[in-house]
């Protein structure tokens, strides 16, 4: 202690003494868990109020847990979290996106704690095998996923009626719908990719509908290269959409929010995005809002949609045992049935494991119910989200290469070649996530 006093200076020692004192008095009744999450009050994952309410509820029911919450905007949370980890300042409990691929990096370097024991203790049956795989690295579970993300097509029912359009059930019908909207002088699909990530979601959806889950797994977990006919069909399809006027002019310069505003402002008939903006969509739409699932693009692929987990709760490996235990019991509380109801009703966020029947009986917007009812119909065919599947180094190639692909700066072949090169480099460096 004396040595430390000398070295670090009086001020620092004084604070640590004070902290020690408060900690020792606090230790008796509560375990303080620092939490980073991205639930803001508007925009993407706008479940802030639900989060606040659940912290209160869980603190009351658990008694010995005290949550110190920091809201980190979803746009920067990956960066902030990585910096914190590299500086050994990992928050005890983090709720960050995206899942598997990034999580694997922290599991590999021993920064997040394995949670198998907690899975055993609490059951967490709501997390099915698919999701358990998404949160595993080399056979151990490292996180508890919560948000169930689905991709779908939001559409303006009024405009569809006005133009005499029916919800498409095949890809040919979908193309036909788009052509009719174009002919009427409207923008078919509000799409903006200035922020670089939205196209990744669109490609994930197209890819699943050309390659199917099985075709994806051959590449993601096997030895099949990106340059295969099914992946090529996906790249070609996306580029064709862009060339054929499916999107507004200058889409690479339109922000994600601006694209949503175009749709909500009645300037576009559809927008293809995920459940993470359900709240803003439902609030912002001044027309009757509908949702349908994009039909399969290749003939031999079953219907399904992109199914991600948004983000997941992960516990710092460096946290003391009592804090880890407290964090786990708190996660258990956050994902209990009662809490899930709060997430749905106050956060417009549907936690993993929520059944369509539960949704029906809970109070939420019709569009929320519609979206999940549709998306949960095909659990065995639902496919991967590129964001949460490829390592960060590949994502950072995917972003610019996709902008080039849909901007017409590159060919589908060159796009796939660039992806394959970064994919191979990532595998060589041991970055690939395999469940």
């Amino acid at each position: 202690m004396k040595l430390e006093l000398k070295r670090r200076g009086l001020a620092k020692a004084a604070t640590s003494v004070i902290m020690l004192a408060t900690a020792s008095t606090a230790l008796a009744q509560e375990n303080v868990v620092t939490q980073w999450d991205q639930f803001s009050n508007a925009g993407i994952t706008a479940a802030g109020p639900a989060m606040d309410e659940l912290i209160k509820t869980c603190e009351a029911s658990l008694k010995d847990v005290k949550i110190l919450r920091t809201v980190v905007p979803s746009i920067g949370i990956r960066e902030s979290y990585r910096l914190a980890v590299s500086a050994d300042k990992t928050p005890d409990l983090g709720y960050t996106w995206p899942a598997a691929s990034v999580l694997a990096g922290y599991a590999r370097t021993g920064k997040v704690a394995p949670l198998d024991d907690y899975y055993k203790k609490y059951g967490w049956e709501n997390v099915n095998a698919f999701y358990r795989g998404r949160n595993s690295y080399q056979g151990k579970l490292y996180a508890v996923p919560m948000e169930q993300d689905l991709m779908g097509v939001y559409y303006n029912k009024a405009m569809f009626t006005e133009l005499g359009l029916a919800v498409p059930t095949t890809y040919a019908e979908f193309k036909d719908v788009v052509e009719k909207i174009k002919a009427a002088g409207r923008v078919p699909i509000a799409f903006g990719n200035r922020d670089r990530w939205p196209a990744t979601n669109t490609l994930s959806l197209i890819l699943g509908l050309t390659a199917g889950r099985a075709g994806e797994e051959k590449v993601f977990f096997g030895d099949e290269p990106w340059r295969n006919p099914k992946f090529k069909l996906a790249a070609e399809t996306f580029q064709r959409w862009a060339n054929d006027g499916y999107f507004p002019r200058g889409f690479n310069g339109i922000g994600y929010d601006e694209a949503n505003a175009l749709f909500l402002g009645g300037r576009a008939a559809m927008t293809i995005t995920g459940t993470w903006v359900l709240q803003d969509m439902a609030r912002g739409a001044k027309f009757d809002l509908g949702v349908f699932m994009l039909p399969p693009i290749a003939g031999d692929v079953p219907a399904g949609t992109m199914w991600g987990e948004g983000s997941q709760w992960q516990i710092s490996a460096a946290a003391p045992q009592n804090v880890k235990d407290a964090a786990a019991s708190y996660i258990d509380c956050l994902t209990s049935k009662d809490s899930r109801k709060v997430w749905v009703e106050k956060g417009y966020l549907v936690p993993i494991g929520t059944t369509p029947d539960e949704l029906k009986s809970w109070e939420t917007l019709p569009v929320v119910k519609d979206f999940y009812t549709e998306g949960l119909k095909t659990p065995d065919a639902n496919f991967y989200d590129l964001h949460t599947t490829v390592p960060e180094s590949v994502t950072q190639v995917l972003y610019p290469e996709l902008q080039k692909l849909i901007g017409g700066e590159t060919t589908p072949d060159d796009f796939l070649a660039a992806m394959q090169a970064s994919w191979k480099a990532a595998i060589d460096k041991g970055e690939r996530w395999v469940p």
């Binding site: 990585r82 910096l83 590299s86 002019r249 889409f251 310069g253 339109i254 950072q396 700066e409 590159t410």
Partner: protein, 286 residues
């Protein structure tokens, strides 16, 4: 009178601050670049392997090219405008000079982040001012996604950068012109020289060192600007506005490859130190 030690005490506070937060981190960055990193943690000593990656890193070369283009564009536009406007202003009443130079300099007081946001909005393909004005003028077909098309992205961004910079050039040129002996201009006027001739034969040659200073200054700025790109395009579309600093930022923060980011940082440092050293040598010559 005083000892060398006393004099050192005057330099010491600045030296400590500068050493701790600039000089030492630079050495650390050099050290970081010798290791391979995994997601923010040191994995192994790698020697110069991070540097050998530079050769085959196309993004690095593209970015470097964009920095160079940026420097050239800055020389062509804000500097030239600054020189012309300053020499026009120099012949006006002090009141007008004061008002106008304040107007021109105003954009420089706006944080670059905010400038980037404003210009990103002006260039916006749907909600932007530029396309709106073109539409009004019946030139809607000239409109486009200014920051999102490979042909126009870097130049459009540079025009936004110029917005914040030409006022500074005017200020510097103005104060240099004001230090030119007025009798030179008077004599030339008496000899019947036009404004253009005076500009060409007096102002331009006598401002050579000022131009040199501004040129080297903008070359260094062209190597290290970041805010403007980051809040508008993040280097996109594709790699069309990628510059060294955004490449470093992405490698460091997004990929978590600290070793390679450090190697890139060292390269950037070496370049700016070379340019800086060159400027110092040139500018010190009489």
């Amino acid at each position: 009178m005083y000892s060398s030690r006393q004099a050192w005490l005057f330099v010491l506070p600045a030296l400590l601050l500068y050493g701790a937060f600039v000089a030492v981190p630079i050495l650390q960055v050099a050290a970081y670049s010798m290791f391979s990193w995994d997601n923010g943690s040191i994995k192994a000593f790698g020697g110069l392997s991070n540097y050998s990656r530079l050769v085959s890193d196309n993004v690095f070369w593209t970015a470097l090219g964009h920095n160079a283009i940026w420097a050239v564009l800055t020389l062509c536009f804000p500097l030239l405008i600054g020189l012309i406007l300053a020499s026009i202003l120099a012949e006006r009443s002090p009141r007008l000079v004061k008002v106008m130079s304040a107007v021109y300099f105003l954009p420089r007081t706006i944080p670059l982040v905010v400038a980037g946001i404003i210009w990103g909005w002006i260039y916006n393909p749907v909600f932007g001012l530029l396309n709106y004005l073109l539409d009004m003028a019946g030139l809607g077909s000239w409109g486009g996604a200014w920051l999102a098309e490979p042909g126009s992205a870097l130049i459009s961004l540079n025009a936004a950068g110029a917005w914040t910079f030409y006022g500074f050039c005017i200020l510097i040129y103005l104060s240099a012109i004001q230090s030119i002996d007025p009798s030179l201009y008077e004599a030339a006027s008496l000899d019947g020289a036009s404004w253009g001739q005076r500009f060409r034969f007096i102002t331009v040659p006598l401002l050579k060192s000022t131009t040199l200073f501004l040129g080297l200054y903008s070359a260094i700025e062209a190597m290290r600007f970041f805010d403007l790109v980051w809040v508008t395009t993040q280097g996109g579309p594709g790699y069309d506005t990628e510059v060294l600093t955004t490449h470093i930022y992405k490698t460091f923060f997004l990929v978590g490859d600290f070793g390679y980011a450090a190697a890139l940082s060292v390269v950037l440092l070496v370049i700016v130190l070379l340019v800086g050293g060159l400027s110092y040598r040139i500018l010190r010559q009489p």
